[in-house]
Amino acid sequence: MLTNEDGETTSHLMGMFYRTLRIVDNGIKPLYVFDGAPPKLKSGELAKRFQRKAEATEGLEEAKETGTAEDVEKFSRRTVRVTREHNAECQRLLKLMGIPFIIAPTEAEAQCAVLARAGKVYAAASEDMDTLCFDSPVLLRHLTFSEQRKEPIQEIFVDKVLEGLNMDRKQFVDLCILLGCDYLDPVPKVGPSTALKLIREHKTLENFVEYAQKTGKFAIPEDWPYKDARELFFNPDVRPADHEDCEFKWDAPDVDGLVQFLVTEKGFSEDRVRAGAARLQKQLKSGQQARLEGFFKPVPKTEEQVKSLKRKNEAKVEEKKKKVKEEKKEKKQAKGKPRGGA
């Protein structure tokens, strides 16, 4: 973990500072949304996370005594907790950098979705797939992965997801709940393919629960308030996009403030901080690149095109299935043969 001379953690500031710079360098104007109070339903999940942290802390103690350096590293990563101070420091840093942020009433993802849908921002960037359930039109994943991982940024369009699954949003949310979300325990023996099949068959969670209780095939957890979870996805507690808190402005960085905070207080290198501030200043001046979709609208496909596309896609899927089957067959045959023959 990164610390300064006094032993205070600085990794969160380091990460925030350099990742934000990288985002800005690429011509993106970020807006940060912080989590507010978690919804009540999340207490179960949070308790579990807490439990895991506690276990990791124990593991860390043990590893420190007996384990290798690698073990210590592994467990210490798992004990990372974002404290209120960390959040406050990040917010102070953003303010100095001139980057706007908002603290969501509850879930940050829900707030992101509202802002994206209102066109205040282009997309919501999160690793959390829940963002799709909150109906963010575009979800970006892996936006802040380190460059060394060479992961491309995923851009997921919710309307294409629904079109591809051939579902409406209600069914999609039901599917996601069944797949396991932060609010409910997963149903045992329901994985991705089973969940999809079940929703296709029963359409809604109501019908599925009824079916599960009748047949006893699936053991639904005793406390499984799926209706509340669904309600959270459809009507989350958020600031509406026209609220005054949602007026965002990207400002020039406060260079002296940044030096005072990061260099004097946190022991960062002054040259780097000043260089970073210069990068922020430069991007602010050069203006933001607009996208063509803002001016030209896509022409909807004709019915004929949609049909032929569908047919082609189906043919592709079919072909893939066949290939997999054949491969399996071949593998089986190869296995069946005695070794060392040819």
């Binding site: 602010l284 933001q288 607009a290 063509l292 030209f296 022409v299």
Partner: protein, 314 residues
């Protein structure tokens, strides 16, 4: 896979049975050429057992040069795109990956001699691959594009006018699910025509200083300015006509002053098309994308659209 291969084998069978060389347009008797033009339904009736595929598209360019240059000009912006062919010509529309620039090409039927396309067909092509094939053509070669009904490949034939050399290539096609943007007809506030080499020079010169250029058109002329780390630069052009060399004319039509900022990286990219046309037309209106048009022979064109940079300065 099985579908495609079976079709190919039928083709092969059909070809051997009738013994038609691949470039039958020039060499086979008129009767068979006519047959190749029969509508599909009739053809299917004639050859009931075999699924008969015939040449749906046939487009002959006097100079391979044109297509080579067009593809060269756009291949760095767009990787894969559809060539949409119909009876009026070959069209292409594609955005770059970041959806900032758009290429719109139209090669009208008049640019070809002859041109025939019996039904609308989209040919999905990888432009890098197409470049590789086109490299095999010499600038003065006669180039013929051919495609069958429901094609797997695009057939390209290069004939040397000087010698009897004839080369033929098949380029595999792909399915591209592409969004098509509707571009509204715009009355631009400023239209500037200038030599394409002049525009290229301005872009290259300013690129050395900065990432973006602001274009200001007023009654005094059009001014390209940029500001960078090492300093600033500006180029101003005024309307003028040159009787001896009309190619060097600069013409500015203005209904309203405009000022817009654009990324030079894209403009420099567009300038790769400078070899296609002596002059280039820039069309600007405040807060809409810039249109850069290279007019080609026979009212064909290559157009680029570029979304502006939007500043925050209050």
């Amino acid at each position: 896979m099985p579908e495609a291969s079976s079709r190919n084998s039928i083709n092969a069978k059909y070809k051997t049975r009738l013994a038609i060389p691949p470039h039958f347009q020039q060499t086979t008797p008129a009767k068979i050429t006519k047959l190749s033009r029969t509508p599909r339904s009739l053809a299917a009736f004639c050859f009931q057992e075999i699924s008969f595929s015939y040449t749906l598209l046939e487009a002959r360019l006097e100079q391979a040069d044109l297509l080579k240059k067009v593809v060269d000009a756009i291949k760095d912006l767009v990787q894969d795109c559809n060539f949409d062919c119909n009876d009026s010509g070959v069209a292409l529309q594609a955005m770059d990956n970041s959806h900032v620039a758009l290429v719109s090409m139209m090669l009208k039927a008049e640019s070809f001699s002859p041109y025939r396309c019996d039904r609308n067909v989209a040919l999905g092509v990888n432009l890098t691959s197409l470049t590789k094939v086109l490299r095999a053509a010499q600038n003065e070669d006669i180039l013929t594009l051919k495609a069958e009904d429901a094609p797997d490949v695009l057939n390209l034939v290069f004939e040397s006018s000087a010698s009897d050399r004839l080369s033929e290539y098949d380029l595999k096609l792909m399915d591209i699910d592409q969004e098509h943007l509707g571009i509204p007809d715009t009355e631009y506030a400023a239209t500037i025509s200038m030599p394409s080499t002049e525009f290229k020079r301005i872009c290259m010169d300013l690129m050395a200083l900065s990432e973006s250029v602001s274009i200001e058109a007023s009654k005094d002329g059009v001014k390209f300015t940029c500001a960078g780390d090492i300093g600033n630069g500006a180029v101003t052009l005024r309307s003028h006509s040159n009787v001896d060399k009309p190619d060097l004319d600069v013409d500015i039509e203005l209904t309203e002053p405009v000022s817009l900022t654009f990324s030079l990286k894209y403009l420099v990219n567009f300038c790769k098309a400078a070899g296609l046309s002596k002059s280039v037309k820039l069309c600007l209106s405040n807060e809409v994308p810039l249109l850069v048009e290279y007019a080609l022979a026979g009212s064909s064109y290559l157009r680029f659209y570029l979304a502006p940079k939007i500043g925050d300065e209050e």
